[in-house]
Symmetry: C2
Subunit: 209 residues, 2 copies
Amino acid sequence: MITQSSIDEFLERLASAQPTPGGGSAAAIMGAMGAALVCMVCNVSIGKKGCEAVEAGLQAVRARSETLRRRLGSMVAEDVAAFDGLMAAYKLPKATEEQKNQRAEAVQASLRRATEVPLDCARVCAEVIELARRAGELGYRGVISDAGVGALAAYAAARSAALNVYINAPALKDRQFAHASLAELEKLLVRCAVESEAAYTIVRNRLES
Amino acid sequence: MITQSSIDEFLERLASAQPTPGGGSAAAIMGAMGAALVCMVCNVSIGKKGCEAVEAGLQAVRARSETLRRRLGSMVAEDVAAFDGLMAAYKLPKATEEQKNQRAEAVQASLRRATEVPLDCARVCAEVIELARRAGELGYRGVISDAGVGALAAYAAARSAALNVYINAPALKDRQFAHASLAELEKLLVRCAVESEAAYTIVRNRLES
């Protein structure tokens, strides 16, 4: 059993007037929940009667989803650090020309980081969705709904991370980097939309068969 | 700051071969995260310069989202209890005619509960999405992306909860209750799809303005 208190504590911190943890952290956690559910589908299916022929596939999906779960789990702290870094940069003094320049540089470096972190979150979530689809295809029927939930969680996470890119990219002075980030993001989101619907459909069809 | 260890602990339990917590609990947590983010948008916006005219609206959204966050938080335990109850019912002895009847009754009562809990989760998530839309309209621009994340989280939660209804409803002998539940669910999901996209669009438009 999960301790109800640890969940409640996290939800209260999320709800508080403190800006962190916020949407970026919530995105990373949703992605990590998606990866964890894919992992669980594999863990339950491996060794089950009827799953022998696909065991190697399930082992591979489990190993990769476990790695991505840890990666997304650590992105919660990265998101908080990126946001706090940006807020700190905005608060730097701007009385002299030199201070103004230093502040502008710090703001740009922080904006870049605050764009890279959610973009990376979206990249990892795209891979989680593909693993969820695979788990939905291979997994034990009694537990594959959790692969569907995993795909939905990772897709919501990718779109949530995207919102954080949209906030920060416009203020970047390095327009080449900003455009490249937005272009990559759009491609990722299309792939995530298609793959998550495919995963959901596979799961629903197998549940109804 | 959230304690990284409490998140890691929860994610590990989710990933384990234990069937609970599973997708139903993940759905309730995603919904609760959505409500918490709506609450946070209100908490940050109330008292901010420029938000004076909409303060009463923000107060109302905050109060309701706080109630729904607590309701969804408690659904994690309800989901685990419903699932465990169903598993226990399936394991009841069926050696005699009387045992068979008792087991069938227990299974049906548990299936009903395992349908009601996720259906109720979807109902609450639909309301969270509407609050997220409202928070996206009224909230302080610097924090409204979190209202968008709240809508996405609650929508993923509603669709995830739906998967659990789809698993359990077909085995219900009370076909009237099963059909009524599925019909209500389909209406809820249509409303959730429309409202969550509306919330996302409002947030993106305000971010780009």
